[in-house]
């Protein structure tokens, strides 16, 4: 186990290093930040001075060396635009995105499990089939368009909910959350629903399959024979059995949800990390882009590592000596 652990961690570090190099080189190719940052009437002299101040006049390998050295010291650079550490800017936006992702998860469970169980209990009924067809729709509908249609319906036509932005925040433990005000929730509703759509389709599928499997088990037949109400059977036995796969899958999806918030945040002008990424790409704020991508890489690598280790711990079939494909 220890050998496997060390080996997996080593691989993860390698991945992070490779990604860091790729990301840095990619950003280098995108454009010249001086063109965006310089005031329009800056002359060549001034432009050179800016490049020098930001360290952009040095050769590529030297810039990369500085980047690596600083990254090893936990410093991913300062934002060109804000002149504060890039990580700080991202972390400041983190609560908004976390809030959105969590609300999305909750929605996908609230929508997915009841529908999935229903479809699983009556697989051949009209309801069951409609739910399963509906889940295909859930996989198919492009996320951004759903967002637009929700805005059109609830914000433009009905005027029930705001079209975008984030509500007023309250400070909890030094972080700013909008969850705790009515207005904040109203702002959160549509983007979270949009984000939840695909995942609820996923949950429906898992819950439906799980329910059908459970209902065929002997202990359910026993329970029925014992005269337990079907309500109790569903609430206790079925739910207990489908919760594990649902939670596992959603846990894995949390990381991806944070990343995909890029689209939802753009549609709803929601000031989270994803919007920051798009804005920074437009403003060529390289340190922020690099830091964002590095953070994402690290998050994904860690999630993968944990999953693999858990599997290795749980499933004896996973051969520990051989790194599983």
């Amino acid at each position: 186990m220890l050998v496997y652990l060390i080996r997996r961690i080593g691989q993860s570090l390698l991945v992070v290093a490779v990604m860091a190099t790729l990301v840095f080189l990619a950003m280098y190719a995108v454009g010249d930040p001086v063109d965006i940052l310089a005031s329009p009437d800056a002359d060549e002299f001034e432009r050179r001075a800016i490049a020098q101040r930001l360290g952009l006049d040095r050769p590529l390998w030297e810039q990369f060396g500085i980047f690596v050295w600083n990254a090893l010291h936990g410093d991913l650079g300062r934002s060109f635009v804000y002149n504060v550490p890039a990580v700080d800017v991202i972390l400041q936006r983190l609560p908004a995105t976390l809030e959105l992702a969590l609300a999305g998860l909750v929605f996908s469970i609230l929508i997915g499990i009841p529908l999935g169980v229903l479809a699983g209990l009556k697989p051949n009924s009209l309801i069951g089939r409609s739910v399963m067809s509906g889940s295909i729709l859930g996989f198919s509908l492009p996320n951004f368009w759903i967002g637009l249609m929700l805005i059109l319906l609830f914000a433009v036509e009905l005027r029930w909910l705001p079209a975008g932005g984030r509500g007023p925040t309250t400070s909890v433990l030094g972080l700013h959350f909008a969850l705790f005000t009515w207005d904040g929730l109203k702002h959160l509703l549509l983007p979270a629903l949009t984000l939840a759509l695909y995942k609820s389709a996923l949950v429906i599928r898992i819950a439906q399959a799980g329910t059908r499997e459970v209902m065929l088990q002997d202990y359910i037949r026993f329970a029925r024979a014992k005269g337990l109400s079907s309500r109790r059977i569903v609430l206790v036995h079925v739910l207990k059995n489908i919760l594990i796969p649902v939670v596992t899958v959603l846990g894995l999806e949390l990381g991806s949800m944070i990343a995909f918030a890029v689209v939802t945040e753009t549609v709803f002008a929601y000031p989270g990390m994803g919007k920051l990424l798009i804005d920074s790409i437009n403003r060529l704020d390289r340190p922020i882009i690099v830091a964002y991508l590095m953070l994402t890489v690290v998050i994904f690598v860690i999630i993968n590592l944990i999953v693999d280790l858990l599997y290795a711990a749980i499933d004896p079939r996973v051969r520990l000596s051989e790194a599983k494909g």
Binding site: F139, L152, F300
Partner: protein, 317 residues
Amino acid sequence: MADYGQIDSVTIAPELPARAPEPVAERGESLFARHVSEFMRAPGAVGGLVVLVALVLTAVFAPWIAPQNPYDLSQLDIMDNVLKPGEKLGSGITAWLGTDDQGRDMLSAIIYGLRISLAVGASSVLIACAIGASIGVLAAYAGGRVESVVMRIVDLQLSFPAILVALVLLAVFGRGVDKVVLALVIVQWAYYARTVRGSALVEKRREYIEAARCLALPKPRVVFRHLLPNCLPPLIVVATVQVGHAIALESTLSFLGVGVPVTEPSLGMLIAHGYNYLLSGKYWISTFPGVALVIAIVAINLVGDRLRDVLNPRLAR
């Protein structure tokens, strides 16, 4: 949030048999014919197929069907911009679905946009499939170190959200249909590699491969003539569904402003153009292309879903 590039193992997990096993096909009926009749049993999927064929035909014959060529700037007139559905253009054509901010007839723009979306989806899938399948089958055949390194890369690639990777790639490449296809190929090849490698591992142990080896047939011949064709059914399923995902991914990227060029808008870009007008009640610019996009993707997914049921060998039949 839809990770359009990814098919979760859960979603393609075999469903439990819903009905009693179908009666075994009569002798003499070919496997293909059996699959066709099997496919036809689901009305939804047949409907999807019909719609899909209609859409493809519309896209192919766009120049003869569309009232206007929305990519020919000399046919556009800025004085026609943002007309309501049903109003007439300066040239006398009726814009049944309205016009966009450049005075493009929306119906024509949608037909041409569909053309781009379908072409991008299909070509990226074909290329990615060819590359991914070759890598996958070779890895499976080679085994050992090569296989584990390749599969490590595949896993790594699959662990990152396709949309994020494509976004960064296009930020570097710039706009263009070819660049979008390239980015989509890069984010997709790994699925095919994984799918093919999975089935190739099973096929590899079968007798006919042993036999082919014993005959000392050249390696490439064994791999591409014998191994690969037998891995096709799952590949077809994955590829079909991926076309839908690729189209959705392309439209999302175009919506974010890193996709196709503005003068040749795909459906996603038409939707993005309409976004600015949505809040002021000019709904048609965003809504209609969106409906077209959704119809196309749903049709593809209905067909893909049914194909999965029909072709999935793990289903008891």
